[in-house]
Symmetry: C2
Subunit: 497 residues, 2 copies
């Protein structure tokens, strides 16, 4: 904006000099000039904003920058490789295919690069063989029928391969291969008629593609690799963590706890809305799990790691997020529950939600460290015990109180959304709103249990180490906002149950 205004200022000044004091011309010229410079500065602004945006994307995930550099390096190397005459003559004019391979196969994660490479190699081999076969068949036919044989074979194979892309299992693993199959088959079966040196061509092609693929795979695996498996692993951890924070934040928000006052409004909003990115995580998780299965052993993950189990954990986490979404909106709807009614259960409710998020955080630790946390079962039991405690607390609310409320707190419910003024609202609705929060919490406990079960299955499948030291003693005091005696009581109660 500053640059634009400066320029426009300079231009006006120049016009004044050349035209002397011609005040008639000035506004007209000035208008055109101003419009032009306005547009110009607006464009500059837009481009600047776009660049700032790009920079932010890169800074948020520097691996994206690194990926771009990697692609650039791989492509430059292959290009110069092609550019050097001696090599050019060795590999032949097909060196173009090396460039194409590099461009097409270079993907962000190692898994997707390998997926595309393997697909490309397998599909090219199969399609090449079939293509040569069809070509041989056609060459033994009468000349007049050759076009029909070739046309029909292209039609049949292309249609079949296209259809295979609609089959879910094929689509997940060989979608790219099917496309390459059609391409190679058409080229081989038709070009065979011209070149007559199909085998020679195939050799050339194979060597160039091999050069391209090996270069790309080496670069993608050795220089700052981005593993799809790591991505899925971290996303699962983050999602569970966000669920824990959101849940705790929402319950604290509902009961106007002081805990939420400690952090800034923006952070609080981020904490509360964290669960929202779990809601639509399915597509990313599925593609990541698919790519991860192609990856070789890396870090703590071996080839054949049960990535599919992450999808189940993801599904359980999503179902939990749906519940938190309902909780979120019922808190947002401002169905006011009388404070003294809240006070009856605030402790238990906060403790329950804190137990829930403890379980989730322990699951996060378990997945993160790939160790069986011995106190997960204990925490789950404690969570279930808290549900019981919570139900008892609700039971302890004397029913007379409800009557009292209905006569004194008549205007307490005010749902703006329905635009209905309702002066003689029953307090039973208040209780019900409280009931919604309570029953949703109980439902959320059930869904967290499901997540715990899926994580347990993962720990069996991936053979998590068993952590030796028993953290039971360390955890009890202070955890779940309980004093030591309360914790011991809980233990006793669990033993009784």
């Amino acid at each position: 904006m500053v640059a634009g205004e400066e320029m426009s200022g300079r231009l006006e000044w120049r016009i004044n000099v050349s035209n002397g004091a011609s005040k008639v011309l000035e506004p007209e010229q000035g208008l055109v000039g101003r419009v032009w410079h306005k547009a110009y500065s607006l464009m500059i602004m837009k481009i600047w904003k776009f660049l700032v945006n790009c920079w932010k994307i890169g800074v948020a995930e520097p691996r994206k920058f690194i990926h771009c550099v990697k692609v650039g390096v791989a492509l430059s190397v292959v290009s110069l490789f092609y550019y050097m005459r001696p090599l050019y003559e060795g590999v032949g004019g097909n060196a173009m295919w090396a460039i194409m391979t590099v461009v097409v196969v270079s993907e962000y994660t190692v898994g997707s690069t390998i997926y595309k490479s393997v697909n490309r190699v397998i599909a090219t081999t199969i399609a090449g063989s079939i293509g040569v076969g069809v070509h041989w068949l056609a060459s033994h036919c009468d000349r007049r029928y050759q076009p029909f044989v070739l046309g029909a074979s292209v039609f049949v194979f292309a249609s079949t391969a296209t259809f295979s892309r609609f089959i879910p299992t094929v689509k997940a693993r060989f979608d790219y291969g099917a496309m390459i199959f059609i391409l190679t088959f058409s080229l081989v079966s038709i070009s065979g008629y011209r070149v007559e040196e199909l085998v020679m061509m195939a050799q050339n092609r194979a060597s160039t593609v091999a050069i391209g693929i090996s270069l790309v795979i080496l670069v993608s695996m050795l220089c700052w690799p981005v593993w799809a498996g790591d991505h899925l692993h971290n996303q699962t951890i983050n999602n569970l963590d966000k669920l824990a924070n959101s849940l705790e934040g929402h319950v604290a928000d509902y009961f106007n706890n002081q805990e939420n006052d400690k952090i800034s409004e923006e952070e609080l909003k981020k904490k509360l809305q964290g669960y929202k990115c779990v809601l639509n995580s399915k597509a990313t998780e599925e593609s990541m799990a698919n790519f991860a299965t192609w990856e070789p052993a890396h870090g703590r993950f071996y080839f054949g790691y049960p990535w599919k189990q992450y999808l189940k954990i993801g599904a359980a986490a999503r179902s939990c997020a749906y519940c938190i979404d309902s909780l979120n909106s019922c808190i947002d709807s401002k169905l006011q529950v009388p404070e003294f009614l809240k006070n009856h259960i605030v402790d238990k409710c906060t403790r329950l939600s804190s137990c829930c998020s403890d379980v989730l955080k322990e699951l996060v630790t378990s997945i993160k460290t790939r160790e069986r946390q011995s106190n997960i079962d204990f925490l789950v039991d404690k969570m279930i015990f808290q549900v019981e405690e919570f139900q008892n607390a609700i039971k302890a609310v004397p029913c007379e109180i409800l009557f009292q409320v209905s006569t004194t707190n008549e205007n307490s419910v005010d749902r703006n959304r329905e635009k209905i003024e309702n002066s003689n609202q029953s307090s039973l609705l208040d209780v019900m709103s409280l009931g919604l929060v309570s029953t949703l919490l109980i439902e959320i406990v059930g869904r967290i249990e499901e997540i715990a079960q899926e994580v347990d299955k993962l720990s069996n499948m991936a053979e998590f180490k068993i952590k030796k030291e028993n953290k039971l003693q360390e955890i009890q005091p202070g955890a779940c906002n309980q004093t030591k005696t309360e914790g011991q009581e809980t233990m006793k109660a669990i033993e009784e149950v």
Copy 2:
């Protein structure tokens, strides 16, 4: 299985004949044979199952079969085009590019085909021009520096284009173009050194790509076209319809209505679980909306139709589905509510849910016919009025009843999931479970209102026709399970509000 056993039988018989009565050999041979035939028949079985599966996919959506035939035809035509010598000499060896273009650009929907074609043309043009420029620059440099100039330019442009694919706006509209840009630029800037007839090559390339693209677009638009816009439109309609059915089904299920007895168990399950495919619809909807923006006017949809608004409707529908998911699980959890308590609200509750699904179905009709249904506002108002009625019904439940329940129905709550036996469960929990259903229903009403608002915005943006005849009179009797007098009362009540 039958074929396999038959074969295995035949083989054993043959062995018996050739070896006479050599009983020692028989079991060994038989074992190998049996294992082999078992594996063989298992394979046959698997392939057969796979084929049956394929057939089912095709029959469920015959347009997929048609699409495959279309790709086959387009590819055969281009191949034969290339095969004919006269044309071959005219277009040159670059005719390979025509085949490649057909294979790569052929997509299921018209929108994605056009998206890819436009991207391919624009990217090829831009990359070609820049490539020629870089080539010209390099040719004016000292011979020794040429590789560095070319290598550096490939590195810079490839990295930049790769990075641009991470930017959401670019990714949504020009992801494919960025890839083609890198490919063409590398090929042109490097190959220029060899061919020295860049312009000639560019002309050839352009003509072949043009042939390929025009053929594919013609085939995809003229022969049984599959429009991404239609797909999105129908999916939105289906999703809203499924929500309506699921909601009605769940409430009927909760109150053990006879309505659900009319249909078979399988159909009921399908009806109840219908909302589940709405939960994860985001990814499909977004890609469809993206492709739909590329499509020319077709049927009742013009170019520039507000497809983005469908995404908002989809988001509102999903948020409604999240609530139904909570409703589903709270009904599944078998928190038994005493029958007489249910009886107090069963009528109002069923009527409310039926009003909700009426609104949804009317919205479906509105989107389907692209007409403003004049009675949507009426139905929404009626739905809101039913909420009020519903709240009044809850209010009317005398609090003494709760006491009575707590003494008589002590064992009514039995949550298996938490494995807690709780003999002195409070009845307040029963009320709360009822409260959960009620409050969720009220929340669902709010979310349906949001859907209605988004559909209303769509009707403004897409300029839906206004339906002339007033269906108010036709709808009143019988709708929402109301008698005529009740309907009139409702109207009066709404007027008063």
